[in-house]
């Protein structure tokens, strides 16, 4: 078990900057998810931690010790690859014992640990079979078992669940959480699936185009996104984010939406938009579950009028697509009274709304 400090790490491939000055502190035993869209640099960051790639600039410390000159084979890392990277020419047993053999662990000890791990991952009935005969789900278990068996200092997982079917993915998600508690190891988990990251990780680092957008606990990130990218990326269904130009007329501040509609800003969100006088175009954000229908609940809440285009069932609730001129708002039908085609008023609570600078994407007036 180790703590990891990623300090101002940059990675360039020729002219392309894959990772741009990222700093992340990971405490001992923490489960951290690197979350971002495909090609954002999260896997490159992971590879640098593992030592598969060298950082162009910056340093990566394990327990305050720079690993820049430590060879990969001496770093004692567990790595689970997206495509599992099972040694298909070897048996399941040999796959599990491989890391121990390389480390010259005694034969009886190897046998004991392989048996225990095979039991733990419930693949012991397959031990003597060639690894190529395993199902995808079993390969996934084998890949995790093979990495865990050497009791690594840290455990790296690169999108380990992305090739699994939905049912098994949910099962493995729970299983990984259990495993992490059992092993008590520092784990870093790369994923583009925000639900996976939200449900598994102690902390999430959100990366976009090589830059660290936000790093923190899942709920903090969800409740308090620091920029437009994070607000848009985290949450399901996604936050409503509408862009427009700020216009002040007779003391009233409006966001003239690019779709034609306007939002008459009020309350906290108005204060947020006015916090920086240089900002002229902004992005207004509100989560679907914060929008409500019916009676106005607070003075500052912003009234809108929209037409119900689609009603979509999401679990026990219905998600309404509300068309306001060319702009679409998503909201949960909290009173179960909407019908498609209705022209209804709805309210955007000012306190739950977020303001972003459209140019830089940064949150305005946040905590």
């Amino acid at each position: 078990m180790s703590s990891i400090q990623i300090q101002n790490v940059t990675k360039r491939f020729g002219d392309f900057t894959a990772v741009d000055n990222i700093s992340i502190d990971i405490e001992e035993g923490e489960f951290v998810a690197l979350l971002g869209p495909s090609g954002c640099g999260k896997t490159t960051t992971m590879n640098m931690i593992a030592g598969l790639e060298d950082a162009t600039e910056g340093a990566i410390l394990f327990d305050n010790q720079d690993l820049g000159h430590v060879r990969m084979q001496d770093r004692n890392i567990g790595f689970v690859f997206q495509n599992y990277a099972i040694f298909t020419h070897l048996s399941v047993y040999k796959n599990l014992s491989y890391g121990l053999e390389v480390k010259k662990v005694g034969k009886s000890e190897i046998e004991r640990r392989v048996k225990a791990m095979a039991d733990r991952m419930s693949i012991s009935h397959r031990l003597d079979q060639p690894a190529s005969s395993l199902s995808v789900n079993e390969m996934q278990k084998l890949a995790i078992g093979r990495s865990a068996i050497v009791e690594p200092r840290i455990f790296l997982l690169d999108e380990p669940l992305s090739n699994l079917d939905a049912g098994f993915r949910a099962y493995m998600r729970a299983e990984l959480k259990v495993l992490q508690h059992e092993f008590g190891q520092t784990m870093i988990y790369v994923t583009h699936d925000q639900i996976e990251a939200m449900s598994l990780a102690d902390k999430i680092a959100i990366i976009d185009q090589g830059k660290l957008m936000q790093y923190g606990a899942p709920l903090d990130i969800y409740n308090d996104p620091q920029n437009r990218f994070v607000a848009n990326f985290v949450g399901s269904p996604r936050m409503n984010l509408v862009d427009g130009e700020l216009r002040e007329e007779q003391g009233a501040l409006r966001l003239m939406l690019h779709g034609g509609a306007e939002i008459r800003l009020d309350g906290q969100v108005k204060t947020a938009f006015t916090s920086d006088a240089k900002v002229h175009s902004g992005s207004f954000g509100i989560r679907p579950q914060d929008i409500y229908f019916g009676e106005k609940r607070a003075d500052n809440d912003i009234r809108m009028q929209g037409k119900v285009e689609v009603l979509e069932r999401v679990g026990p609730k219905r998600l309404a697509y509300l068309q306001v001129q060319e702009t679409m708002f998503l909201a949960f039908d909290d009173q179960a009274q909407l019908r498609v085609g209705d022209d209804v008023p709805f309210y955007l609570p000012s306190g739950a709304s977020m303001a972003f600078d459209l140019e830089s994407g940064r949150r305005l007036g946040g905590q």
Partner: protein, 285 residues
Amino acid sequence: MKTSASAMALKYFFVLLASAVVLYPLLWMVTMAFKPYPEWTTVSGLTWFPQNPTWQNFEFIFYGHAEGLVVSLDRTISGPLIASLVTSICGTLIAVVCGTLSSYAVVRFGLAQSLPLSVLQLRLFPPLAVMIPVMVMWAFIGAVDTWWGLSLIYGIVTLPFAFWLMKTFFEEVPVEIEDAARVAGCSYWRVFYRITLPIVKPGLATCALFVFILNWSDYLLALLLTQKEWVTLPVYMATLTSAMGGQMYGMKAALGVIAAIPPVVFGLMIQKHLVRGLTFGALKQ
């Protein structure tokens, strides 16, 4: 259905036709090898199968003379057979070892990116075009008519083939498998010979067989670079003529049968790998 039945018939017709075209010379070679001298030529009328089967032709090339034949050979098959085996095997080793290591370096470490094309250039012109300077060079280093001289040129000439074949096989190996082994604590070299090589074993076997066949069937290089000691089977075969009997077809056929044995045996030995090797790229990881 009528159409599919006639389509099947047509398919089999073409398969049989293709097989006949391929197998006919083989059949002729084998039957000829067992025909006595009078049956080689049209004098007594050509027949499909030997009328009086005999081992005479084999006897002749192994002992240099045979009962009932007035001609004799000054050189039996044993020398050329050994020469062919030694030079083909050594040449194959050189090509496969160098080709494997260099293509791995190119594929995995991105080294020498110009190497694939420049290696390919070795095969872009007819070997004869460079044989004069090669002969001069080989004479200069004393490599003419030696086993190592011929092995060396075989290795060089077939290297592009081995290089490109192994390159495609290595490209099929997911880099993550090697990374997984490295993370487990393996050095680069150990990853290569413990993980990567076993995975590409089918490809390696296929490559070795093809290169061996190329070397084994070479006539031109051996003709130019050997004189007496290390004459190989194809060159030896061309010498099987006599002033009295003309072309000694029966002996040549017998020699052909013997020369076909090593590649066939080699092929059968690696048959299991061969199917896998030829379809390597088509399989999912």
